[in-house]
Amino acid sequence: MSSSWPLWEVFVRGKRGLNHVHVGSLHAPDAEMALRNARDVYTRRNEGVSIWVVKADDITASSPDEKDPFFAPSGDKVYRHPTFYAIPEDVPHL
C-alpha cells in the first residue's frame, strides 16, 4: 500500500538564478520515482528547471513554538543591516 511508501518533500527551482522553493510533497518508493512523479505533479507547465526531492523524515525543522528564542540571536544585531549606519546624503553610490 502506498502509505508504506515514504513521503518526499519537493523543491523546484523556477528558473536559473532562483533558489529551489518548497512546492509540496508526494509518496514514492525511492528517490528516482519521487523525482519522476514530482515532474508530473509539480511541473506540468514548465514551472521548473531543476527539482530536489528530500525524504520528509530527513528534514530537521525548528518549531514555531520556539520561534522567539530560536531567532532571538539575530534580533539584537541591528548592525547587520545597512540602515544601521548613518552616511551623509551627499556621499554618492553608498
Binding site: 509518496h27 514514492a28 525511492d30
Partner: protein, 317 residues
C-alpha cells in the same frame, strides 16, 4: 496554557497571517480542515471520471489532447490537496479507503452522467467555472498549505474553463443539431452547477465556524450569486439560455434574481442516490485495487536496490 495557545492561534488568524503545519491549532480546526480538504481532493479525483469517459471518443486529436491534459490536471489537483491533508497528520491511503468505503464525500456534481460531447464543453465552462468561484477566495484561506495548493489549482483552472467555452463556441457555429446538443447540455448542468456552492446559508451548519476560523471566506449564497452574475453574459454571448424562468436582472440589487435548485434532489445525490454514485465509487475502488501490484512491485524494487547497495558497500570495505 491551553488558553494562551488558543489566544495565539486566534490572534494569528485574525491578523490574516497563515497557520502553518507545526503551529498549535484547536482540534476542531484541524478536523474541519482534514474533512474539507479531503472532500475537495476526492472531488478532483472522482471528477476525472465524467470527462475521462469521452477521451477515447473525442472528435479530433486536438480535442483529445486538450481533454487528456485537463483530466491529468485534475489528478494533479487531487494530489496537491492530499499533500496538504498530510501536513495535518492525515494519511493518504486512509483517506482513499474512506472514500471507497463511502465514509467521506466528494462533490455531488460528479454523480451526473456525461451524455454527449457537448457535456465536455459545459463542464469546462460551468462546472470548472463554479469551482473557480469557490476556489479563488480559498487562496486566502487561513491554513497555509491549503491556500498554497489553491493558488496552484486556480492558475490551472482558467485553462479548463476557457477550453470548455471555446469548445461550445465551436459547436454553436456548427449545425442546428450541434446547437441543440449544447443547449441540452446546458439545461442538464445548470442546476447541478448551482448546487456546487452547497445548501442555502440558512441550512449550512458549518459555515459560521468556518468563517470565524477564516477557512471559508464567503458564504454559499454569496458565491452562488457571483457565479450567476458572471455566467449570464457568457450565456448570452454563446447564444444559449439557462433553464430558469425566474432568472432576471434586478436593477435595485444590482444582481440577477434566480430560482432555487431542487434541494431534495441535492440531498438525495449527497446521500448516494444519484445516477452515477455507485458507478463512480466502484470505478475508483477497482483502480485502487488493480493498482496494488504496481505499488507492491515498486516497493520490492526499491528494497532490492537498497540491499544491493548495502552489499556493494560491504564488499568494498
Amino acid at each position: 496554557m491551553a488558553d494562551e495557545l488558543d489566544l495565539a492561534f486566534e490572534r494569528t488568524v485574525r491578523s490574516e497571517a497563515r497557520i502553518e503545519p507545526r503551529d498549535w491549532m484547536p482540534d476542531g480546526y484541524r478536523n474541519t480542515l482534514i474533512r474539507q480538504i479531503a472532500q475537495h481532493a476526492h472531488s478532483e479525483i472522482i471528477g476525472m471520471q465524467p470527462e475521462g469517459n469521452w477521451i477515447s471518443r473525442a472528435p479530433s486529436l486536438r480535442r483529445k489532447a486538450i481533454l487528456l491534459a485537463k483530466v491529468q490536471d485534475e489528478a494533479g489537483h487531487g494530489l496537491y490537496l492530499y499533500s496538504a491533508t498530510e501536513t495535518l497528520g492525515a494519511d493518504r491511503t486512509d483517506l482513499t479507503v474512506k472514500l471507497i468505503e463511502g465514509r467521506q464525500k466528494y462533490s455531488s456534481i460528479f454523480n451526473y452522467p456525461t451524455l454527449t460531447f457537448a457535456d465536455m464543453g459545459v463542464i469546462g465552462w460551468l462546472v470548472d467555472g463554479a469551482a473557480i468561484c469557490n476556489q479563488v477566495p480559498l487562496c486566502r484561506t487561513s491554513y497555509g498549505p491549503y491556500a498554497r495548493a489553491m493558488i496552484r489549482i486556480c492558475k490551472e483552472e482558467s485553462f479548463h474553463q476557457r477550453q470548455g467555452y471555446e469548445l461550445l463556441m465551436t459547436m454553436m457555429s456548427g449545425t442546428q443539431a450541434q446547437r441543440d446538443m449544447v443547449q441540452d447540455a446546458v439545461n442538464r448542468w445548470w442546476w447541478p452547477s448551482l448546487m456546487m456552492f452547497g445548501p442555502p446559508d440558512a441550512e449550512s451548519s458549518n459555515t459560521e465556524q468556518s468563517m470565524a476560523w477564516r477557512i471559508k471566506r464567503n458564504t454559499n449564497d454569496e458565491l452562488r450569486q457571483k457565479f450567476v452574475d458572471m455566467s449570464v453574459p457568457q450565456a448570452a454571448h454563446l447564444g444559449v439560455t439557462f433553464p430558469d424562468p425566474e432568472l432576471r436582472w434586478n436593477e435595485e440589487r444590482g444582481h440577477h434574481d434566480f430560482g432555487q435548485p431542487d434541494w431534495d434532489e441535492f440531498w438525495q445525490v449527497v446521500k448516494g442516490n444519484g445516477v452515477c454514485n455507485a458507478q463512480r465509487i466502484a470505478h475508483r475502488r477497482k483502480a485502487h485495487e488493480d493498482g496494488a501490484w504496481v505499488r507492491e512491485a515498486a516497493e520490492a524494487h526499491a528494497a532490492r536496490q537498497v540491499s544491493k547497495e548495502a552489499k556493494m558497500i560491504g564488499q568494498s570495505a
